[in-house]
Amino acid sequence: MSRSGRGRVVPYLLLLPGLLWLVLFFLAPAVQLAATSLYDPAGSLTSGYAMTWSFGNYPDAVAAYGAQLGRSFGYAGLATLLALLLGYPLAYVIALRAGRWQYLLLVCVVAPMFTSFLVRTLAWKTVLSDGGAVVGLLRDLHLLAPDGRLLATPAAVVTSLTYCYLPFMVLPLYASLQRLDPRLLEAAGDLFARPAQVFRRVTLPLSMPGVVAGTLLTFIPATGDYVNAELLGTPNEYMVGNVIDAAFLVRLDYPQGAALSVLLMVAILALVIGWLRRAGPAEAG
């Protein structure tokens, strides 16, 4: 009796540290954030905020910064798509064709992460600068007007976002492609599937777990990113992260910053759930 009693308690005891951690560092701040988003917008940091259940903060925030909110999802979505289009072939080659070069190539994919995020973004600034080689080449090829530039354009922000999160796309894709049984590909060929059909009917569906994980790991942090827009764009390219950053640190409008944060969280959650429903484990098997 006491044995089985203890047997039932132990799993919960093991959960305890993790739960405490979550309550302390996730749940409590989240509740605090939600509460802040409903404070009286007339308050200030010096005079203090009153809890007035001001749900009006939300429509106000959307009215003021809807463009940046929309841009966040637009840029992040585009960057995720680009990362998928670049990352899938890369992961495919590394996992199925690279043979003994596999691990070296993987290290190359991860290598940029050895340097600081900030340094890399600043490096992009140099690469894309008006006097830089890339702009020069594009101008020579007439792909860019003689006075056209890359820096301070949406293209610069999306390119850099893609670059920053590419490893997070490639690694899960690699993991799922690497587990792919090559005999299944042979069986598909034996059953009259042309190479394109083998990919569409076998390779792609079996690598869906990697696609789902990779897109989530890219899309979620990219949506909340503000460093790229800050360093490579102008206020015209600012994303919601820049607005939240400013609301908390420059304008000191805490209720509005909190409302935007909560909106961002809820919107990401909704998109993630929608995506998992469409492409998630049930279909990927």
Partner: protein, 397 residues
């Protein structure tokens, strides 16, 4: 519903495959008649899978040609060949249910009326009601049927089966052999069945090719192969054989005279692969009988005398090991017909057989090295077991 497909034999002409310096399939010439159940039998690693993969188009030959009827398919991409494979590992698509697995080939070819054909094929392999199951929810035997149905539903001109029953337990294997025979009669087409299980090859196939080290040693019906093997390898790989090393030293009428272990034997020349030089005289263990005295040996039979060293009881038969005076070990199978009493180990006996049951093979000392060695090991084990048994008996007394 039976569509008349263009028929034609599958022919392998000088087919070779080298991996680096290793020749795995060595100038293989083989004709598989249209509509036959053909078994490719050989020990593990002799190149069976490689041969099948070349026919399927999954491995590129380094030499030779593959013809299907009049068409040369050697360089055809796998998805263009009217050939389907049942893989050793089944290779079922884990993300598709049973129905979609079976429908896969039909859908890729854009065949109309997929559902009806899939249903009929599933009921043929007795998997009605499993359409929506995932492969991982099925037992090994059921997965194997899905693999069969998935290939057969395409009505391939040649169905390739790579050790299809290898992963099943013995009882299931025997049952699936029956299933395969039934399917073959119901669906038709040419079946090429690869196996290392000689019993499977003999019970299923109408033609068996025995393969060894990348070459075909002998091709024929199971009965031809068993009754008159062409090489020592076939004689020992397909069933068991007693092989006595000797030399041909004469002829008497239609018989060749062979001297072995200081005794003279005769073998009908129609059952001889050679007529001079070093030979192996073979007799199947069930063709040899044991008697106690020379008077009991029937007229016309030939014999060797020796001592029973081991008795193995198998129910349907009893296997005796007899060590002859000349030092050769003979295996003798005695059917449990209820007529003859068991002979205890240690009894002096005469092992006799009729010359028409013997066969004569070329004695390639190099070749024999491998087999005789194998044989000796086997005999050593038997002798050791007999010695151990004797020791136990001695201890009891």
């Amino acid at each position: 519903m039976v569509v008349e497909e263009p028929s034609g034999a599958l022919r392998l002409v000088g087919l070779s495959k080298r991996f680096g310096a290793v020749t795995v399939v060595d100038r293989l010439d083989l004709t598989v008649p249209a509509g036959s159940f053909f078994a490719l039998l050989g020990p593990s690693g002799c190149g069976k899978t490689t041969t099948l993969r070349m026919v399927a188009g999954l491995t590129e030959p380094t030499g030779g040609r593959i013809l299907l009827g009049d068409e040369d398919i050697t360089r055809l991409r796998p998805y263009r060949r009217p050939v389907n494979t049942v893989f050793q590992s089944y290779a079922l698509f884990p993300h598709l249910d049973v129905f979609e697995n079976v429908a896969f080939g039909l859908r890729r070819r854009g065949v109309p009326e997929v559902a009806g054909q899939v249903r009929r094929m599933l009921s043929l392999v007795q998997l009605d009601g499993y359409e929506r199951h995932r492969p991982e929810q099925l037992s090994g035997g059921q997965q194997q049927r899905v693999a069969l149905a998935r290939a057969l539903v395409n009505r391939p001109r040649v169905l390739l089966l790579d050790e299809p029953l290898g992963a099943l337990d013995l009882a299931l294997r025997r049952r699936m052999q029956g299933e395969l025979r039934r399917l073959r009669t119901e669906v038709g087409g040419t079946f090429v069945h690869v196996t290392h299980d000689q019993e499977e090859a003999m019970t299923l196939a109408d033609t068996v090719a025995v393969m060894n080290a990348g070459r075909v040693e002998q091709l024929g019906t199971p009965a031809e192969l068993y009754e008159f093997p062409a090489t020592a390898f076939v004689a020992t790989f397909l069933g068991r054989s007693n092989l006595l090393a000797g030399t041909v030293n004469g002829r008497s009428g239609d018989d060749l005279l062979v001297e072995a272990y200081g005794r003279r034997f005769s073998v009908p020349s129609a059952r001889s692969r050679v007529d001079s030089g070093a030979v192996l005289l073979g007799v199947r263990p069930e063709k040899v009988r044991l008697v106690g005295t020379a008077e009991q040996v029937p007229a016309g039979h030939q014999w060797l005398d020796g001592t029973v060293t081991d008795v193995g009881y198998f129910g349907v038969s009893t296997e005796y090991s007899v060590r002859t005076g000349a030092g050769v070990e003979l295996s003798v199978f005695a059917a449990a017909d209820g007529e003859s009493a068991r002979i205890p180990a240690g009894s002096p006996v005469l092992a006799h057989w009729h010359p028409r049951h013997a066969f004569l093979l070329h004695h390639d000392p190099h070749h024999c090295l491998h087999h005789c060695l194998h044989h000796d090991l086997h005999d050593d084990a038997a002798a050791a077991a007999a010695a151990a048994a004797a020791a136990v008996r001695a201890g009891r007394e």
